[in-house]
């Protein structure tokens, strides 16, 4: 298997295969109430406590659509640079399952609310455009619990009827890494828009992964398999890797690949056929006669366009232009809306005479390291943006050295203390009085006469020795730049 930054190829004997991937992402719409009923959508509630008569499909109950969910879908469509369809239709997808109370899922089949769009991926060696086929609104199903009883399955309908956006990509992805970057980008856009929280642990973001393989260079698509309902990026990558190799093996053995639905077994790290799904494959879609076509006006869409915040791609451009950041730095800082917010707050608090480079280094360096080690989100950062800005300014204006700053930062972690205060209380202020430093250096030179002579004779390495001695004598607080200057003069 060869692995350049961008290519994911599978080698067998003389043949080289590439993998073709398309994703159907199911993103839970951020809303208070469900798509067609007024019950709550909160995660983690007691079983069946957020279920209305509509959600449990009681006789005579009818769906009424949630305006906010429609707006959320359109906003997401705008964020994906996609065509907003002014007329869309809700269809019924008919199948029987214990956690599908109506015996059908209300979805959009022929006429989705959002049409074609695109997403830009930032890859290590440049950008790549991934096509969006469509985005449609649909209901989530309930949850079957299989492990509470040996004979029975328990059904919790809290999730039944929650609004989902199914975002279907074109088969434009070529490696597990691209899939990871694509999902992260999609999640980032939706979090900027506030349309989906992207929380994969809670199931707010899941994907069906379509995988096929073909000989490198071929223009034809191979037969694809759909891996259902994968709920983490890591599992998606593992599933793709397994599935692609399985398909290549079949081709190499001269066998054919069946177009089928497969399940990723996270314990065994393999995909396997879901035969049970197959025999009920005829979904008998037809327009839901309880609902009329959804029509939205230009005015409605334009109003939403005006509500769209600055999205990651634009923010990145602005960071590069306005703050002179590198593309790499900007990509990191815009990847998550909360990180971008934090960064911009630091920038704002630094005031006029700011050192952007230093701020970026401190955020992506020290701060990220702390967040990582403590497993915290940036919103839970122990150091506020305001105090980090003060710290950076203290370095910039020479009050403390970079080295002392690390000590101060450690102290800030406890109670998000003002670094200015720490510096004063602990007496960590940098010694920048040239007179005092000259006296200190004179003393050191006197005490090390022989070394001073050796230096003058050309043993330049010894300069470092004198700097070290001076720093030591000052308790690490001496302004290193001044020390350098004075030493050069005196020696």
């Amino acid at each position: 298997m060869s692995k350049k930054s961008r290519e994911f190829l599978i080698n067998r004997r003389d043949n080289q295969y590439e993998v073709v991937i398309g994703l159907e992402v199911h993103a839970q719409v951020l809303s208070e109430s469900k798509l067609f009923s007024s019950s709550a959508t909160k995660f983690g509630a007691e079983p069946n406590t957020q279920v209305s008569l509509v959600d449990a499909a009681f006789p005579g109950m009818l769906p009424v659509i949630n305006e906010f969910c429609v707006k959320q879908a359109i906003k997401t469509g705008i964020g994906l640079n996609a065509k907003i369809n002014k007329r869309s239709v809700f269809d019924r997808k008919n199948y029987f399952y214990a956690d599908l109370p109506q015996g059908y899922q209300i979805s959009q089949f022929k006429d989705p609310i959002v049409g074609e769009g695109k997403v830009i991926l930032d890859l290590p060696d440049g950008q790549k455009e991934v096509g969006i086929e469509r985005l449609h609104l649909e209901q989530d199903a309930g949850k079957s619990v299989h492990d509470l009883d040996p004979q029975n399955t328990f059904v919790d309908l809290n999730r039944s009827g929650v609004a989902l956006m199914e975002i279907v990509s074109k088969p434009d992805l070529r490696s597990p890494d691209e899939v990871s970057i694509y999902i992260k980008k999609l999640r980032s856009i939706m979090r900027y828009l506030g349309t989906c929280d992207g929380n994969m642990q809670e199931g707010s973001l899941r994907a069906d992964v379509n995988v096929s393989v073909r000989e490198k260079g071929s223009k034809e698509f191979g037969t694809r398999c759909e891996i259902k309902n994968v709920n983490s990026i890591k599992f998606m990558q593992m599933a793709i890797e397994y599935e692609a190799n399985r398909q290549v093996d079949l081709i190499e053995e001269g066998k054919t690949i069946d177009q089928e639905t497969r399940l990723f077994d996270t314990k065994k790290n393999e995909t396997r056929s879901m035969r049970s799904k197959e025999d009920a494959h005829d979904y008998r879609y037809f327009p839901d006669p309880d609902l009329l076509p959804l029509e939205v006006s230009d005015e409605f869409v334009n109003k939403l366009k005006n509500e769209i915040p600055e999205l990651p791609d634009d923010k990145k451009k602005r960071f590069i232009n306005e703050f002179k950041l590198s593309a790499y730095e900007a990509t990191i800082l815009v990847s998550d809306i909360e990180i971008a917010k934090y960064f911009e707050e630091v920038v704002a608090k630094m005031g006029k005479n700011k050192d952007m480079k230093l701020a970026v280094n401190w955020i992506t360096g020290e701060l990220f390291a702390v967040l990582n080690s403590k497993n915290l989100e940036i919103t839970q950062s122990p150091v506020s943006a305001k105090n980090l800005a003060i710290l950076v300014n203290l370095i910039k204006n020479g009050t403390i050295s970079g080295k002392i700053a690390k000590t101060v930062f450690e102290l800030m972690l406890k109670n998000d203390e003002d670094p200015q205060k720490i510096v004063e209380e602990k007496g960590l202020k940098q010694q920048s009085d040239p007179k005092a430093l000259e006296e200190l250096i004179d003393k050191i030179i006197n005490n090390n006469r022989e070394k001073a002579i050796e230096y003058k004779q050309g043993k330049e390495k010894l300069f470092g020795f004198f700097v070290g001695q001076a720093m030591k004598a000052s308790g690490g607080k001496a302004n290193p730049q001044l020390i350098n200057e004075i030493l050069k003069k005196k020696l």
């Binding site: 006789p59 005579g60 009818l62 008919n94 059908y104 008998r284 037809f286």
Partner: protein
């Protein structure tokens, strides 16, 4: 006061308002007659004790400003009623007690009416004779062993037999108008979107519409006024200005243009229906209306279209009856086994047949040939009416191609059963209002009805025409109370 149950709704309301009758007296009278009428099998669930309590309570503090003050009434068992068993005529809902109320019945109770009980109907409203009910067939008060029509057969029988002064039914392809015609009563199917479908057990969502059934047009108008409302809980409910149907009822139909569609003269239609229709034409002419011959060219395609659209929607609407949340459950080795047995044992033969038809026409490979085709033809049928209404204000047709038939006569021939709805089905497909009024008798003395079809939302107009015709026809239902003696 004697013969309370013979009084019209209008008279009962009048008498209660004038304190000549109490709600308790009226309620008791209908209950006593119902007790003697069990052989009709009109009720699935009786709620008599509770009705008497409510009547007593009403009398203690009567609110006489209401439109239906203390009026007892039974309703078709397709309307969900809070804490009262609701079966839709099916074994699969045999033990189902809703915790909620349909919008229409809610409207009725809030105008002061009192529930007597739930009336028999074809299972899930699928039938034209009330013979598909899990709770047995219903007798027509007109004659022993005669079907009352369907699917609102219990409702029609109860009104004709005076077990309830008025009632509500549902009409998907003729289920109010055909039984009204078979029992000598009046039945209105309102415009689609006029009466909320919230809380009514669904058969075919794009066709279902509830409506009033009564002894006369005025009663029907009053009940329509109560049940018709815009409802935000039903996405297909339409917000239009509803008229005060009973107050604005008039027999002045001078100058109205009435269309007579030639396509409703079908092969094999009995002579007496043709004669009745002619008489109807003369009546409206006598009232000063103008008769205009029109064409509804796609009429003969309505029934085949209906038998694709209605089963398709039903196959999906009835998927929720799976033994999981409520209703009947058969035991099974696993989930699928449980589903298959529950639905096989819980649904009757006609319902199963229609689910199968619906499943088939939606299944992959057949959707375009059947379902899509039917939706296209449905548009052609609607266009026919749109064209006709450029020239006329209403359309007059027979309600049914025959009078009521014998119990068991058509149960083995589904297609001949379906043909009963030939004149009523186009109206549902086009979403229009239609009313059936009794207009005469056939040679056997069985009642025959005429149907007036209106423009969308023009209930007032067809009620007026029906009201004017009613006066001219002066129909007397021949009911001998054979089941009581």
């Amino acid at each position: 006061m004697s013969d309370i149950t013979k009084q019209s709704l209008t008279d009962l309301v009048e008498n209660i308002k004038n304190k000549k009758l109490s709600s308790s007296e009226v309620t008791k009278a209908f209950i006593e007659r119902s007790e003697k009428s069990k052989v009709l099998n009109a009720f699935i669930t009786e709620d008599f004790t509770s009705a008497l309590d409510k009547a007593k309570k009403f009398d203690q503090k009567p609110n006489l400003d209401l439109k239906l003050p203390g009026i007892p009434m039974a309703v078709k068992d397709l309307f969900c009623t809070k804490n009262v068993k609701t079966t839709a005529g099916s074994k699969i809902l045999n033990n189902f007690v809703p915790t909620y109320e349909s919008t229409i019945t809610e409207n009725i109770w809030s105008e002061g009416a009192i529930l007597l009980g739930k009336l028999n109907c074809d299972e899930f409203a699928m039938g034209s004779s009330n013979e598909t009910s899990f709770f047995g067939n219903v007798q027509n008060p007109i004659d022993k062993n005669l079907v009352p029509g369907g699917s609102s057969g219990g409702s029609a029988s109860a009104v004709a037999g005076q077990l309830t002064p008025i009632t509500i039914g549902t009409d998907t392809g003729g289920s109010i108008r055909q039984p009204a015609s078979f029992t000598g009563t009046v039945g209105l199917k309102p415009t689609y979107g006029s009466c909320s479908r919230y809380g009514i057990v669904a058969f075919a969502s794009s066709l279902d519409q509830a409506g009033p059934m009564a002894q006369n047009v005025k009663d029907c108008a009053l009940l329509q006024e109560v049940i018709s409302s815009f409802d935000s809980k039903d996405s297909t409910s339409i917000d239009f200005k509803r008229s005060h149907y009973s107050k604005e009822l008039t027999n002045d139909i001078k100058g109205k243009k009435i269309g007579i569609p030639k396509e409703y003269r079908v092969d094999g239609m009995p002579k007496e229906i043709e004669t009745l229709w002619q008489k109807g034409i003369e009546y409206v002419r006598d009232c000063g209306a103008e008769i205009i011959n029109i064409s509804l060219p796609h009429t003969s395609y309505a029934l085949p279209t209906y038998y694709i659209v209605a089963p398709a929607e039903a196959s999906s609407n009835l998927a929720r009856y799976d033994g999981v949340k409520y209703g009947y459950r058969a035991s099974g080795d696993n989930l699928i086994d449980m589903y298959e047995k529950t639905r096989s044992e819980g649904f009757g033969a006609e319902v199963q047949r229609r689910i199968m038809i619906g499943t088939y026409v939606l299944s992959s490979g057949y959707y375009d040939a059947y379902y899509l085709k039917a939706q296209k033809v449905r548009r052609l049928i609607k266009n026919d009416f749109d064209e006709a209404y450029k020239k006329v204000d209403a359309i007059l047709t027979p309600s049914t191609p025959s009078s009521a038939f014998k119990i068991g006569e058509k149960t083995n021939d589904p297609v001949s059963m379906y043909l009963n709805d030939i004149f009523t089905v186009p109206v549902n497909l086009a979403g229009l209002p239609g009313i059936s009024i009794p207009a005469g008798h056939d040679a056997k003395g069985y009642p025959l009805g005429l149907q007036i079809i209106g423009k969308a939302f023009d209930e007032q107009n067809i009620l007026n025409i029906a009201f004017a015709m009613e006066e001219k026809i002066n129909f007397k239902n021949k009911i001998s109370d054979w089941w009581i003696k």
